[in-house]
């Protein structure tokens, strides 16, 4: 893969855009005209996704890599608590170093290289200009905690769940691009405490089943699902911490600017069992696409129109769409001829 990494911003002047290739591989989440909250889990990792798709590798690296790592650095400079690790998670920290370095160097050897001589590791990250030798298992040989070190070099948020008492606890995380939840506040919470806010889902037992499934997740067999929301401007840091800064944008959508300003935000959520710690890594990788980019594939434009029109009001409120959902529907309506789209998320 010959990725050209882009220089772009996710704040202030918002210069983020998708290339034609990035639009084509966008993980459009709607296979049907009606959206229902569901767990919809499938296998993830090697051999589970088409070449070139965002599912091809365990950890996807795309044209936004350098810019997203830079945005993470800015967030952490302002608020170091976006990275949290409770003390009993040190084994999991090293598990993450291994998972991330192994998969990046294996899947993108032109950008990342890893040499292991026993516990003496040599890591090269060309896009970010990093060349580091260290001793695996020895914190003192890295410039910061192992998980903070490596999670600054991947896209997406990562939450590491400790497994005990038949439950999962959010005891570690690197969370700088979240859709309205706070790692600093949620640290240490159990699976249900942490998922509490999702409407309807609790009542129909979705989380009981999902938890049971995850408790049995096996090393070597990662899984994934897609989730989605919408965001105003290509902003990664839609955290509750910074809600005072991005909240006003929700009221700024007009029929004139809707195509450029409103983004579909799709989260590729993947779960990996970690070997030494028996913890689970939960990655939430956000992909942003503006409505104008999305409708370059009319099939997607029509589908999104139907999904938003039929969306349950509780979900609309939960996802924070109420201020602008109608404006988006009105924008998409003229593009929807009502043709039967069939099943599937493909663009054409």
């Amino acid at each position: 893969m010959n990725t050209q990494f882009k220089q772009e911003t996710f704040r202030d002047d918002y210069t983020y855009t998708n290339s034609a290739e990035a639009i084509r591989r966008f993980p459009f989440p709607f296979a049907e005209d009606e959206y229902m909250y569901s767990v919809n889990i499938e296998m993830h990792g090697e051999g589970t996704g088409a070449a070139g798709s965002v599912f091809e590798h365990g950890i996807d690296v795309d044209e936004h890599y350098i810019a997203e790592c830079e945005d993470r650095r800015i967030v952490l400079d302002e608020d170091p608590d976006r990275y949290t690790a409770l003390p009993h998670m040190m084994d999991a920290q090293w598990d993450m170093v291994e998972l991330m370095m192994d998969s990046l160097s294996k899947d993108y050897p032109e950008h990342f290289q890893l040499q292991k001589d026993g516990d003496n590791w040599h890591w090269v990250n060309k896009p970010l200009g990093i060349d580091q030798t260290f001793v695996f298992g020895d914190e003192a040989t890295l410039p910061m905690q192992p998980f903070e070190y490596i999670s600054r070099q991947v896209q997406g948020d990562w939450i590491i769940l400790d497994q005990r008492d038949d439950d999962l606890f959010a005891d570690m995380g690197m969370v700088t691009s979240q859709a309205d939840w706070s790692m600093a506040f949620d640290a240490g919470m159990s699976f249900k405490e942490w998922h509490g806010p999702v409407p309807q889902a609790n009542e129909i037992g979705i989380f009981d089943r999902a938890l049971k499934y995850l408790l049995h997740l096996q090393y070597g067999s990662p899984v994934r699902r897609l989730n989605w929301t919408m965001t105003i401007n290509p902003r990664l840091d839609t955290s509750p911490e910074n809600y005072p800064f991005w909240g006003p944008d929700n009221a700024s959508v007009t029929p004139e600017n809707v195509g450029d300003k409103v983004y579909l935000r799709v989260e590729l959520q993947a779960l990996f069992r970690l070997p030494r710690s028996n913890a689970i890594a939960f990655s939430v990788r956000g992909y942003l696409i503006s409505l104008n980019e999305l409708i370059t594939y009319p099939r997607w434009g029509k589908r999104l129109h139907r999904v938003l029109k039929q969306l349950h009001p509780d979900l609309s409120e939960y996802k924070g769409l109420d201020n602008y959902r109608q404006t988006v529907i009105d924008f998409l309506a003229p593009l929807d001829d009502g043709a039967d789209l069939g099943l599937g998320t493909h663009p054409e």
Binding site: D162, R164, D165, Y219, S221, P275, R276, N278
Partner: protein, 317 residues
């Protein structure tokens, strides 16, 4: 489910009835890392029928050039352990699952009491490696029948120093569990692996001393018991099959080409749970997963160890 192809590198007779197997990956690569207390499920082809038995991983979690399992020969079993003892030799090829941990050390504990009865010592061999590495406070109490059954004693003395205590039944040694539990400081967790009556007794003792349930951990794999033949109908798959007396329902499903979920195959984890739609007799629950109330309701069954005494059982699968 990801599978590892392994080759037996070494077989060692540990006691009269226990053999220790060293497994390496066929392709020569190191095996996956694992956490203390993990097990793998070993597949064996016995006269054309696939048996799958869970065995704890024993070695150091830091060195994964090889895996180590130990098997006690169970004379009255359906043949898995006998096969391991009599047929598996250095050079034999086996398939194992990736490691699964249903018996992990609670990282929130301030002190850890490990209690092993007989072959129940095996999961602690890897847990101790982790406890030593992490510098946690622990004690191991290991009870066995006679000096000839003292599997791994020397190794344990070397690993644990004065943290290990041995109780040899034939020499009058007796582990007084209530006494052990009654003077532990706050934040202590207890872990037990051993014969069923010993595990049950510990749970009762701990409860009566006011220990919270989540401070008491046990691992118990049940071998699928032998029983009567019965018929099963899988509604969604549209398949009907017969479960012979010497085969588990899960094995019968697999034999019929059904890709049914499983993890531990010993009634401990709950992964293979199936919903029962109909049963015109009695379900014989043999698992440690369902609560008594769930067992009584008869709405689910663990096909890895449980059976039915009926003419017709319908599952929603």
């Amino acid at each position: 489910m990801s599978i590892l192809n392994v080759k037996v590198a070494d077989v060692e007779q540990v006691t009269d009835v226990v053999k220790h197997f060293t497994l390496v990956q066929e392709n020569g690569e190191p095996l996956p890392h694992f956490s203390g207390g993990s097990h793998v499920v070993v597949s064996m082809n016995i006269n054309g029928r696939i048996h799958r038995n869970p065995y704890s991983l024993m070695g150091s979690t830091a060195n994964t050039d090889s895996y180590h399992i130990s098997v006690r020969k169970q004379e009255n079993s359906r043949g898995g352990s006998v096969f391991m003892h009599e047929q598996v030799k250095p050079g034999s090829r086996l398939q194992i699952t990736y490691p699964v941990n249903l018996f992990a050390i609670s990282k929130m504990g301030r002190r850890h009491i490990l209690i092993a009865g007989g072959i129940g010592i095996t999961p602690f061999m890897s847990q101790i490696a982790d406890l030593n590495r992490l510098g946690y406070d622990y004690e191991l109490h290991y009870a066995y029948r006679s000096p000839e059954n003292a599997a791994f004693r020397e190794q344990l003395e070397a690993m644990c120093g004065n943290r290990v205590h041995f109780y040899v039944e034939s020499e009058g040694g007796r582990l007084d569990i209530p006494d052990l539990l009654s003077h532990q400081p706050l934040g202590t967790h207890v872990y037990i692996c051993g014969p069923d009556p010993m595990v049950k007794a510990l749970h009762i003792n701990a409860r009566e001393l006011g220990w919270p349930e989540n401070h008491v951990h046990s691992e118990e794999f049940t071998a699928p018991p032998i029983g009567d033949e019965f018929k099963v109908q899988l509604k969604q798959s549209g398949v009907e099959l017969v479960v012979p007396g010497d085969m588990s329902m899960l094995e019968a499903m697999e034999e019929a080409g059904i890709d049914a979920p499983f993890l531990c195959r010993g009634g401990a984890c709950g992964r293979c749970e199936q919903q029962v739609l109909e049963c015109d007799g009695v379900i014989m629950h043999n698992d440690h997963y369902l609560s008594d109330a769930e067992k009584a309701s008869g709405n689910s069954i663990m096909p890895c160890v449980s059976r039915a005494k009926c003419s017709r059982l319908v599952l929603d699968f």
